[in-house]
């Protein structure tokens, strides 16, 4: 069941804490579910000694997947038309992520009203880790 166009206004925002103190195990869980076993994300020794990073870091797609919840909890999981992000900074174990979604505009289309959103996920230092846009179909 999607959201009605009466229930959403341009400029409205929703904020959600996606994860507190991200654990390495959680990154392993995402690797298993997604099938992306890049050792950069799960193999500390590889990440440090072979790849030259300070340690393992989360899949961008884990951050995008978590960020999607702030959207689907609002508009419903069946009504998304588009969802796209840019990965701005890495997400490290121990990070706490907060996502904000804002209604940019609502357009009438021949089928149904469509809401356009901007998304922004920041870490505990306020650094943007994911930014993006999305669109969802609304009930007339």
């Amino acid at each position: 069941m999607s959201l009605s166009s009466n229930d959403i206004k341009v400029g409205e925002t929703r904020e959600s804490v996606l994860v507190e103190d991200l654990k390495r195990t959680r990154i392993v869980q995402y690797a298993g579910a997604s099938g992306d076993f890049n050792p950069l994300h799960t193999d500390e020794r590889f990440a440090v000694e072979a790849a030259g990073y300070p340690g393992v870091f989360a899949h961008g797609m884990l951050s995008m997947g978590m960020t999607g919840r702030v959207l689907t909890d609002w508009v419903g999981p069946e009504s998304l038309l588009r969802y796209g992000v840019r990965f701005k900074a890495q997400v490290w174990p121990g990070d706490t992520l907060t996502a904000t979604v804002t209604v940019d505009s609502i357009d009438d289309t021949p089928d149904a009203p469509v809401a356009h959103f901007t998304l922004r996920t920041v870490n505990q230092n306020g650094v943007e880790v994911v930014t993006g846009t999305a669109a969802a179909r609304l009930e007339p």
């Binding site: 298993g32 099938g35 899949h59």
Partner: protein, 154 residues
Amino acid sequence: MTGQPIPQPFPVEAGHIMMFARAIGDEHPAYQGQSALAPPTFTMASAHYDPDYHLRPKPDEEWFGSGGGPGVMAEGGGGLHAEQHFEYHRPVRAGETLYAHTVPGRSWEKQGRSGRLLFSERVTEYRDADGEPVVSAVTVAVVPEGPATPKDAR
């Protein structure tokens, strides 16, 4: 998700959706049960069904991660995911099989802080058994030119 000549079957299974939804921390009831919907980023998990997927260890093949030693950066292994875009033609549901077909998209370069950055797109169309488009996905990867160097501290 390399450019396979024929579309890759991707059976969408309820248990797989459950595991994926748990991994992204989403307990929405729509993602549970035999007729579960898939979360918006779920089609990435089609990697499990790509026989040539390069980010999965395989028996009897050299794996680039650590074992007795730290491992080695594979060619292009310094690459990172820069952007990801999805267009949804309809929701994905447990019990159906999607067919993923990936082709290279645009490629371009940009001057970064420490050298050239090479960007490239992979475009994957997920179609249903009737050939109807379900999800269109664009992955943008970025690879720094030259050998891997120590990365920025966190």
